[in-house]
């Protein structure tokens, strides 16, 4: 579904991504894990069209995706849940969600957008309860639900999530990730970028390990969890605890 080859991107002269090759098959849950500053967000932002690639190819459903506007990336079926939620704080929950389906309204597909809204409310009943509340007054977990709901309003086939677990209590993280995993049965493919490697690998089929702008490991989630280097670097296991396992 998504195929990225030798992607390079960055900010001005700073080259952050140094030739990333990744693919996500339809129906898969794929995670990209890595430390802070590895380039994970830069990667998602580039796929989403927020950043222009310096070189390389991005294909979505066998069509090139590079150098088209973020708006059109969404219209093609590829939505981003940005890092830090970035909900529109002064707007209500319902307004935030409506904005997620902006391209549907522009194309006068109001019915479709309303259908989608019902699905989002079904997925996150708390958003329905608080639909007139201002987004800025929601708790962190609720804001994350809103951010995911807003992205789902676009009816994406590929949902990209940037650190959905950030700043959330472990129990909330668990519930959010379970919801994300559940989206698969609605036909949504997931590309999940996470620093919380253990949680991400817990729901993913496959994963990539990103280090300073390069992919250094690819494998099934099980293989990555078994890899001692991953355990040491990202799962917080010390040599001793690995040996004592």
């Amino acid at each position: 579904m998504l195929r990225v080859r030798n992607l390079e991107a960055g900010y001005n002269k700073l080259r952050v991504l140094r030739g990333i090759s990744i693919h996500v098959g339809a129906g898969e849950i794929v995670t990209v894990i890595g430390a802070n500053g590895a380039g994970k967000s830069t990667f998602l932002n580039t796929v989403a069209g927020l950043l222009q690639p310096l070189s390389g190819e991005i294909e979505f459903d066998d069509q090139p995706l590079g150098r088209i506007s973020p708006f059109n990336v969404v219209a093609r079926g590829c939505a981003l849940v940005p890092e830090g939620r970035l909900v529109f704080a002064p707007l209500s929950v319902a307004e935030n969600l409506t904005l997620g389906a902006y391209h549907q309204y522009r194309r006068r597909r109001k019915a479709l957008a309303e259908q989608q809204l019902e699905r989002v409310y079904a997925l996150f009943p708390v958003l329905r309860e608080r639909r007139s509340q201002l987004a800025g007054t929601l708790s962190g977990g609720e804001q994350q639900m809103l951010a995911i709901g807003r992205a789902l309003m676009a009816g994406p086939r590929l949902l990209m999530l940037d650190e959905p677990s950030m700043g959330l209590a472990p129990l909330i993280v668990k519930s959010i990730l379970e919801t994300i995993a559940g989206l698969r049965k609605d036909g949504v493919t997931i590309l999940l970028v996470e620093q919380n490697s253990k949680a991400a690998l817990g729901i993913a089929d496959r994963g990539y390990v990103m280090e300073t702008g390069s992919i250094v490991l690819e494998g099934t989630a099980e293989e990555l969890l078994n890899n001692n280097e991953v355990q040491r670097a990202y799962l917080g296991k010390e040599y001793q605890s690995i040996a004592e396992r």
Partner: protein, 435 residues
Amino acid sequence: MMYDAATESLARAELTQLQIERLQAMLRRVYRNVAFYRTRFDQLGIDVEQVRDLEALQQLPCTTRADLQAAYPYGMFGVPLRDIVRLHASSGTTGKPTVVGYTRNDLQHWSALVARQLVSVGVSEHDIVQIAFSYSLFTGGLGFHYGAELLGAAVVPASSGANAADQLAIMRDYKTTVLAGTPSYALTIATALEEQSLHPEELNLRVGVFGAEPWSEALRERIETKLGLRAYDTYGVSEIMGPGVAAECEQRCGMHINEDHFIAEIIDPLTEINRGTGEEGELVFTTITKEGFPVIRYRTGDLAVLLDGDCDCGRTFVRMGRVEGRTDDLVMAQGIKFMPSQLREVLMRQRWIRPDTAIVLDRKDGSDTIEVQVAVSEEAPFFDEISRVSELRAEIVRTLRTEMGISVKLTFVESATLRQKVGTKGVSVTDHRQR
């Protein structure tokens, strides 16, 4: 039947994407973790980030057996030793052996790849698999063992130490359905079967999975008739993985290379320039998932072709032909270049000759002499008839002259002596011409 149908029948574009992803990640890991490659790439000014497609791999230097030997024992490992859970060593025809290490993930991949090739020849969890490869530092025994076990078959770790009669007794009593071993050992078992006047139908054998030494279609037929099974060729290299690198499917039209784990190339052994599909050359492998012992463009020394076209079995992985010989034991004598295996192939067509062959080269009065030592099969009806034996000798000498252009002195020796001399390789070359 496929063990991992989604992967084994992956469309070429998707397979290429997977290969490039794994190759790039592997190159970055290897550059960081293996001093040998880091030093070499730095010296040659190679930036691994510049490998953007599979063709770019061809620009990287090859790794030779000598490189691996120089790094003996652990110099080529891609992870710290504490992450290694298994060590094997390659037999090493010359010089030091090569020690190869496997991480837990490597072992899982390895088992899955062997399971894949067993399923591809119709082996299932209902089978009783007798493994007559040596259980040792050699990868054959444990490699097949883990694969068959993962598949859920009943595994009989008979190893190759037992004498043929004992092996046969196990086979009969345990109702073995699948035999894994070297083709020459299979032939030895077949001979024991005849010695005990047993009929193959008294056994339950159905499938034979053979490898670890070069063999021929003629030998395949002999084994199939004598043991009453369907024989399949497999290909493995310890430095790459062991068994599980490539294997025939039921179509028997070449061995599918597990391309999701290994990238295969064919090169000219002299110039290292890549050759196209259908052209014979040296097989070169790059491991793209190995953690413990990753190698970049390892020269196997095996001569083979990569085959064009699709296989009827539906697998999309490229196939390789039989290993036609080695790059390193090409014999040049009497102005003729030949592979010992070629000579062996001619000999193996002779019904009453055992497949082991020792070749002794010498120089007499300025011209090369080629002595070929073989053993007459004990089952030959004329085993002690001198006149018939010399008839056979004349016939073989004549065949070798017409087919290979060499004139040889044929000597019949004791089968046991010969076996000792040629070892498991089945053929040995001794060259006295230097002195």
